[in-house]
Amino acid sequence: MQRFNLISSPVFAVRMISRVLVVVFAVCLVLARSAFGQPSLTGVTPQGLLPGQAVQVTVRGENLAPPIRLWAPGAIAIEEIKVAEDGKSLTCRMTADAGSPIRVVGLLAANASGVSDPILMMVDDLGSVADNGSNHSITEAQSVTASTSVDGVFDGPESDFYLVRLNLGQRIAVEAVVQRLASSLDPILRLLDTHGNEIAIADDNLGVGADCRLTFQAHAEGEYLIELRDNRYRQGGKYRLRIGDFPVFTSPYPLGGRLGATTQFQFTGCQSDEALSLIKRLPTNLVEDRLAISVKRQDGVSSAMSQIAVSNLPERIEIEPNDQSEVATSVTVPCAVSGVLNSQKDVDYFEFALAKGQRIDCVGDSRRYGSPSLVFMQLFDAQGGSVAQTSVNDADDAQLSYTAPDNGIYQLAVRDLIYRGGESFAYRVAVRSGADYSLTLKHADKTTCRYPVSRADRAIGLTVSVQRRGYSGPIRLVTSEPNDAFTLYNQNIPSGTNELRMFAVLAADTEEGEFWALRFVGIAQVDGREVRRAVMTEATVRSTVPQLAYAYPWQDGLFTVGVTGAADPFFGMTCEPAEHILVRGGQLQIPLKLERKNEEFKGSVSVFAEQLPESCQAEIKSDKDIYTVTVSCREDAPENDASLRLVMIGEHSGRTQTFVQDVVLQIVPPESTTVAKDSVQNAD
């Protein structure tokens, strides 16, 4: 007898496909609805802000109806926002602090329609000029000075040409900032003489991914041409072409520093003879785990941008020679070790002691900071046996974890995955010891950190994932800075739990068009010390802007919330009566009935009780659409009126709605119960 296989049956398959399609369609509808009408930014002119100078900026986009708020990270002031009548552009005055490092920043807009994604621009010490749009041949090359940044647009098969005059011996650096500004195009730079002969070409330089840069020292006074085009001859992408005397290097060295310490950074892979150095006092406290830095050549005018890792770990630098296990650099864990793989096949060894049961977690980093290395690590025990090594996968960050079975000396060998080496091949390995944890947004690559919130809904929900490394205790989630506008619910991650749905509810007096950029951090007592870890969202940034290989420090962990207009509630609650008598030492059950105002809303709601006096406790249970709040009261509770606030949060079609019900509790002694009941009945 033939057995009927349900899974392989065509009917079943068709049904399944149909269901999947329906679900996909529904999801698309939800996404489309949530995105519809929100402000969006498509262009900004100029793309550079001169530190310390007010710059008049024009921003283009959609749905920029006033009143509109603009936001940029760090010390950037935004004033005098004027929106065009068609709502498709606005002007404002932006001022980056004098002394700000040059870096890529974001600008985003919020109004009653929601919040935009950030558009990227630079804080740049090179003044901006615009691509004139007709510079598509050598003869039509656009003249620029040797100290400028050009904001341009790729013109498909046609290159953009710029003519620059150089003195004998003058050195210039040319850099195309393209994918770092979230453009998907892939620039190719060529330096030509005026006859069109190629002097230099740059494409995919080490350390900058698809972007490229070159340096040139003029061997003769005269004019030179800079040609820029997309690798695939695509058009429409934006670029910022920096031409100046800034240094060109691959990465700082060391790649990181300790918070609060004064650190001297060298720069590897310099395309000039002079040594670059930067002495920097690092901030004592920073939510981000990276810090933008910039550096100039001695007597230079323009800067190169870079970034470094920052942490509380002691920073250690390799002591050469350490390319054999016999001459390993000794360190004490936890720490961060930095080194340079000086030559091909170079392997750097670090030696440290581990106690029995001590766990270490090593994270190697390099490409994020410009180094071309792809870190590979291997851990050896005192006998030279390999006890752990990096698992090579699609992620760039190499990781290795190990728990020592016995007291002993161990050696960490660090090399490039394919044994490359050279002065540019810097790396940093954070070797953490003991219990720790980190937080990320769950399914970050499929979710968003941008929350348009209806004034009626007033809430956002996010699921935080915990990656525990030897720490199983509770973690409390808070906003990184005190923020009166938000109240967090379900913010305590219980011991042993690795996932939590947290809600942030806005204050009731929130108005349309209000906007917040905030971060969430976890706080835990780990081995007797307070450990704070931010909820990171790099995967979300990369899913939104895949051409950005690494999120900028200000992007990673940034949540934006904008308040939009009213929306029809999809649920409500009835709680009758609104006043209850609670007997000391007794219990009271308050029934709540969920009202589904949108028939498509099939889910449940979360109910939180707050404002109860210390002597009382509330427990909430649900049976279908009936929620029962059981309030218990200690016998020693003071006799008075108390209020109980019930905050109910439901989620549907991408919305998170809040419903608040205040209940008055009259706490009475047991003997007054009858009287009180009577009085209540009489009152009715």
Binding site: D203, L206, Y233, D394
Partner: protein, 944 residues
Amino acid sequence: MQGFGLSGRFLFLEVAVAMTVMSDAVRASENQGADAGTLVAVVAGDPERLEVSPSQFKLSGPRQKLQLIVTGYYSDGRVQDLTGVAGFSTSNADVAVCTGGVVRPKADGVTSITVRAGEREAEVRIDVVGQGEPQPVSFQYGTLVALSKQGCNSGACHGSPSGKGGFRLSLRAFDSKLDEYTLLREEFGRRTDPMDPEKSLLLLKPLMKVSHGGGLKMNTHDPAYAVLRDWISEGCQTDAPGAPTCVGIRVTPGENRVLTRPAHTQQVSVLAEFTNGSVRDVTDLAVYSTSDTEVADVTKGGLVIGQERGEVAVIVRYLEFIESTILTFVKDIDDYEWQPQPTNNYIDTLVHAKLQKLRYLPSDLCTDEEFLRRVCLDITGSLPSIEDARQFLADPSGDKRTELVNQLLERPDYGKFWTLKWGDLLRLTKGQVGEDGVHKYHRWIERAVSSNMPYNEFAHQLLTASGSTLENPAANFYRTAKDMNDCVETVSQIFLGARLQCAKCHNHPFERWTQDNYYGMGAFFNRVQRKKTRRSDEIFVWSADSGDVTQPRTGQTMKPWVPVAGTVSELNDIDRRTSFADWLTSAENPFFAKIEVNRIWSHLLGRGIVDPVDDFRESNPPSNAPLLDALAKDFIDHGFDRMHMIRTIVNSRTYQMSHRPNDFNRDDTKYFSHYWPRLLTAEQMLDAICHVTGIEETFEALPAGIKATHLPAPDLVNHEFLKVFGQPERQTVCQCERASESNLGMAIQFLNGPLIHSKVRDGNNRFRLLVNSGQSDEQIVSTLNFAALSRPPTDDEIDAEIQHMAAKQEQLENENIRLHAEIEVASQTLTEVKTKLREKVFETRLLTVPEEIRADVKVALTTAEGARSDVQAYLADKLGSLHLVTDEQLMKELVEEDQKVLTDAESSVTKLQASVLSPEDIRIMGIEDICWVLLNRNEFLFNH
């Protein structure tokens, strides 16, 4: 060529019929069904020297025998195989006897075989031992060899992966364990019957005594029959552990022997050497084939029979051992006389030597015009500009060809065009390496070629490439070669000239490559890993520290292996590919340089010295081995400099020979006695059409002005014309993917394809601009000829073209006259139609007049002005407008049906008037014809 071949064969048969002496081998061949029944050996004549091979031999055991090879050397330098005509006698017939050159043992002892031919004698010492000892048939070296000999385990029969008729053998006995199981255990051993061996299915089937799908495959007098029968009768024994195994075979004659007709036969003997030092004659069990059956056939008994002039490799296979011997067959040609030929370099010397040996004469040098066009197409892929052509042809200097070659190699077009060729081999497509990768990889190759990166460095960089495929585009090699198997097959085909695909599943059926070799080479590439990175479209190629290859059939872990050197024990400690690349690109590698010089040669001369260029094997020998060796040596000596090789080849007279054959090389297709014309490639053809018409082609999102020969990949643009003309999709690493044969689609493109039509009709094309600039017909036609053919037209051509234009003019003017006549008729018709319709309008207008005066008004208005009465004149004065119907009014006031009648009549006139050609149009159309004709000339379509 075919006709010559047939007549040659008939001649040979006539000679053969006159001969009467038949050797054993020939008889055997006849019996085996070969077409050599009427073939005989040659007349011994009077050799100056007689040589017998081997000069001594030991026959161990009753099954052994020996094939002697008798060679006569003559005073005029000729060599003849006299095996079939020599006389043999033995000093002791009790020890051994010799018949037809085959010695068979009788009893232990020593004897001497005397060989006589003409007046010469030679002696062979024969030691016979072990005649009293049993000598069971070896399973490996008897049974399996016999099955191979009869073709039972060939790919078309039981050697196919699924066998035939439920009986499966390993392909050509490469898996003796499988065969042992199949023959002895499968089907409960019913294929063999030791009790009655001759009733075994294993014998009855090939004898067709039992129905056999493969037909008659064996006769009872075949040597293989006796082997199989004896093996069965001995109880189907397998070889004992430790039994001696074969280590190789020796083929006689071993040197490249030249045989001159009528001495067109050569017996071959094969000796197998075993691990215990013994040597056995396996001539009757070895399998034979030739590399070119047009030149020579070989019988099952190993008698090679020449057919045509030429060189042939005789391939001998004994189990997995394959050896070949080269034989050259020549014949005297009437009136042929070798003339000392001038040479430009060693290439000519070696080509001439081969031609002289084979009785060919080289063609004359090509003209300057032919050379210019040829060398421009071959080096840059494009036709020369008119200015360059005029300048070159007018240059009187003697070294202008050399100078031109130097100039062409400096041009950017050189790098771009030869990148196209490498793009084909490296499977450079958007689909394989990604949208960003395809441009970067293309640019990397182009820069390597343009900068003349030494070929060994080029290959080394490709094979050892690691890291990001975007930052290091050479790493895309491992994006196209996606796994170990792909790597082995790609590397071997591109850099070793070997097609190894079949060795993946079994030993190569025709070559030395074994399955072990395949996976041994795979051990170099098995550790190559690919990982994604955060950058989209980027793959990171790296080599793992571990990862061995397991031979799927034997389960053995394979050690890295390379041809010639064998197992490599000293490996690069980080990346095994480095060891392989070091071996591959070393000057000592016998293959590497040859493959590339052969490929360059093929690009320039239309055919490889080894052809196909990626199919180097014993059975496909070079048509001129010394030339290939010399080119390879030159290549190595000059640091693997490709430009040097191109320069050397195109500066040779061989390259510069005319494509026109002479009476003494007309049938030559292999030895480069004349240039071999070939159809322009798809990209060359398109660029050439653009060049002639002066209208550039645009390729979607690529920059204006980019040529078809510069396209990075075929899947970047979807171009119908290129597809029709054989642009490869680059799905394989085989150069053969680029179609070179003409087809109907191509013809249609040239007859009325949209591409040519649009360019010839384009208002800004070359000849329209020339017309606008005031040039004469002769000047324009001359320019077009220069553009298309790189030469001025001959007087005859220009006369014909001008005459055509005149005839065209006359034809079109006559057409104009006819049109004018038609216009006159149509105009008249139109007038009549209008008159009728005006009357209709008038009648309609009359309806607006009171009925009582309507008739009077009509009469008044239709009466001539002078003939009207006063009343009529009054009516005409007042209502005359009723009768005046303008064209505009006419159209407005007609009913729809009549409007159409009028429109049709007007349209007819308009159309006819539009068809009338102006004198300028007539001239342009004449030139269009000339342009079209030039594009359809063979001289344009072919690189000649």
